[in-house]
Symmetry: D2
Subunit: 304 residues, 4 copies
């Protein structure tokens, strides 16, 4: 057994040095964060391994956009699955808008009258929808003929301004999956076009074969989940049906396992389903993603 | 101010009597559960009100199927939004299978070798997929031409055995929405058909107009969320764009608000977005749905 | 394996009938609540068993006082361990004050100016301290010579008005332990006497032998924890050093295990310490106590 | 309003630089961690301010000992309140023992047979009690005449080996409060002496006046809470009765507010009690302490 070596902090310690201290302490949340860095590094350096990255939550309002874009540009992941909300917030910023530092304890009616939408303590102006409308109105012809959501998001990525996750994925040839795209601000904008009598050809099931092919053709797979929801589950089921299950796994979440939903389920549960190899190298990090992700990525970047 | 009157328990107390005790105590979790019953009752008795019901989580593996079916058969709700997982588990049981009482602290590799999938402490045999395959193989021609997910689920409901939520909704003319249906066991079965060269006509965005029309045409709306995820958000955004926002709201969840995601966001946050009327009657119940829902529904049923 | 039988709700169902439905569903939170009732019932009916009951949290502000008093009067438990806060709120009500139904989202400065203290959404007037002062001033001579906290609380119980947990315990000869009594409103009042030059003879360690004797002399022990904190741990360590460890266990908590503290630790962890027998009958109920306790006790009362 | 500036990670970024990035993002968990560093720094640099530091949880088994000792040696805090468990684990290590890196998903009966106690995924050998016994047997005469717990802990600190929090506090003249010391391994060892007929003079209420004097005589107070429980509450009530309430506040916890207990209560609630000044500078960090504390302290150390 390894002893719990207490974490030592020296002045001007780097994040990577701190994570190494956490690795030698090795227990509880700190140990889990350190293990996540180690697993992410191993998965990247395992050249046979394809990394599936699922991202739920409010990552763009939460200040995580540049980290995600850096991960994409450095080609550290191979499949990106997210929610329509994250892509909407990404595009909103790409169109020149911002999110704002607010408060969670606030009069929401007053906020509304000031034209602000709230996501915990991050605000967004409600006039962003006008620019979203214009953007989609202008580009709808190019989008409407896409056959699948992943194709739709590829075209959307091409059309999106630089400095968006969408465009970064496009440029780096990273496929984006988002099975519940209809459930988002982008979905609402598309509804607006449909309400005007326009049509799309986007099939609801079409990209299932794409994500499963990606999993199926790997020699090894890794799964990284920031939050749960559809992004996690969509990757999990691709693992389930593929001959190669996840050999590496990282999950960062604040959800509890006891109510039985997928978002709070520990990665270990996936072994019963053979979404995860029985001897996989995996860790559950019970932490707010906006704290854990910068820590993990800062250490990782120093090691690559 | 009302005093906190301590809860009195008499022998053989009914659930409704207990909830009335919780109403007079009026604080913390007990107060919230009692308020949820009151709001649900008021929303039902408000004949101008359309009730949107969102259900995430693992409700069928968690033993909640008959309650949901009872709610449907008694026509207490008007719009049903759920996850593909719940519909898959529902159909699996309809095809004659069961879920089983297991343990959460278990060797998942051993479970897998015994042919069992785990959802916390509920198990399902992995051979259910064979019957799902047969069912969809047999019925695919009727399903593949559906234009939207909600139409697909209507046909699926017609084809489903009695004693399923799917069939109950069909018989009671209750529309089911499930924007992420691809992300489920049913999605995987459809992928299997597609992999054989078959096609579906199910459009990813098509039913947005249906749910928004349902919200738009109400005099009043109510929202009830069991868990968060896509079901909650899909209803929330229909409220956002409709002239009538939610006048009543109930949310039962164990997720935290601080990480900023929609699933843990208190209903109050929706006021900033005008998903919720500023003077709406609403409550957040921080509780495992499998505890709170039977309690709430038992009291409600006694009152109707 | 037992199947998950879905919960059926009939009109005017009693709580005990509902709990039996939860027992046949048998999984997730509902299954845990039902198991807690069963274990509590078995521990009571096991005439060789001594039941140690630990209660943290804000149970009196939360409306649980009468349930606790009913448990005490029906002699269902044998040792009571709690916090100074609960005893302070109990005595405050005994002196004629109330708690009030308030809101959690509130301007706390405004509340203060209105003379109100807040515990989540339960309020207490700040003038209660005056009556507490008078009560202790009048009775200090009788209290100051007590040698241990448990003796102090026995005398305090004798002096306390009827309709308090303190007095109920006294009348039913139920010992109260409260190792951190100094850490409470009662502690502050005693500090006031000490500041005036008075003294107490209450030894900080004296009642350790009393609680350990109580555990040591049992043929069997049961532990019931409402919340964690000192009440849980004080019982746990009595189990640890006694020849008889807990044979039955119930824990109701919302705390998480991952940060490593005792309050969130599952009962199972106690097996490594031999605080719990390895084949003990125990359950962790992840639920707000104000929801779970009334449910559990209502079913239990119907069965006794 | 400030915009949410997305966090940028450069190679070999220091922790302090990362925290500054989190400050410019400014929202959700990352924003809260950054704010905690800022408040801690301001409280230290405010030379009129006395810092009360409360520490619950399993900080020594969790690898935090050296950080706490560094804080003590650098004289950054003025009052230290903790649990008996933390002091016991501290002394155990001082006597030459270790904690070990283990697993949370484990057979606890097997662990017990291997002589290991478990705290989540940190283990301790059960033979540590023998050395604790010897230590207290040898030193009991010097300890037994202490009049208060804080005096007892001062003497214990003097007697403790170097490389303990206890001894560091002693050498740096930092008072330790621990109202529930009886509720710990140290308590059990004292019980062993009492069972042999020995006595202590430690009064349960005696040090209330010491901690309140410390709060009362400040020009300004700051409160820092790692976890809740008795350490938090004991400081909170000292603030309540003192003329100067907390002007600065940091709380790191994973407990929820809704069940109403003190451990999960946001600092804001203290304003209603006037434990906190209405215009105090404070933050709640919802995070595992073993992740947040190293981050916060690393940044802080770089700034001092």
């Amino acid at each position: 057994m390894k002893t719990v070596k207490h974490i030592d902090i020296k002045k001007n310690i780097t994040v990577d040095e701190l994570i190494k201290e956490m690795e030698t302490s090795g227990v509880m949340g700190a140990g889990a964060v350190a293990k996540a860095v180690d697993i992410f590094e191993k998965a990247i350096k395992d050249k046979e391994c394809k990394i599936f990255f699922g991202m739920a939550g409010a990552m763009v309002p939460g200040g995580m956009k540049n980290i995600i874009m850096d991960i994409v540009k450095n080609k550290l992941i191979h499949v990106f699955v997210t929610t329509g909300a994250n892509l909407t917030h990404d595009l909103v910023e790409g169109l020149g808008h911002h999110h704002y530092q607010g408060k969670a304890n606030v009069d929401d009616d007053k906020l509304n009258k000031e034209g602000l939408y709230r996501m915990y303590d991050s605000y967004m102006k409600n006039n962003v929808y006008e620019d979203l409308e214009d953007f989609f109105e202008k580009n709808f012809d190019e989008l409407k003929n896409c056959k699948s959501i992943t194709e739709f998001l590829k075209v959307l990525g091409k059309l999106s301004p630089e400095n968006t996750i969408l465009n970064s994925c496009y440029k780096n040839n990273l496929p984006i999956f988002c099975p519940s795209l209809a459930d988002s601000g982008i979905g609402l904008i598309i509804w607006g076009r449909i309400a005007q009598g326009k049509e799309t050809k986007v099939n609801a099931f079409e990209d299932l074969k794409d994500i499963i092919d990606l999993a199926w053709t790997s020699k090894k797979n890794a799964v990284i989940y920031l939050g749960g929801g559809v992004p996690k589950n969509y990757i999990q089921q691709a693992m389930q049906v593929s001959p190669k299950k996840a050999s590496y796994g990282i999950q960062v979440t604040m959800d509890r396992p006891e109510p039985g939903g997928s978002s709070g389920a520990p990665l270990k549960e996936g072994i019963s389903w053979r979404k995860m190899e029985k001897d996989a190298n995996f860790v559950d990090v019970i932490c707010d993603v906006t704290i854990a992700l910068p820590l993990i990525y800062a250490a990782l970047k120093s090691r690559l």
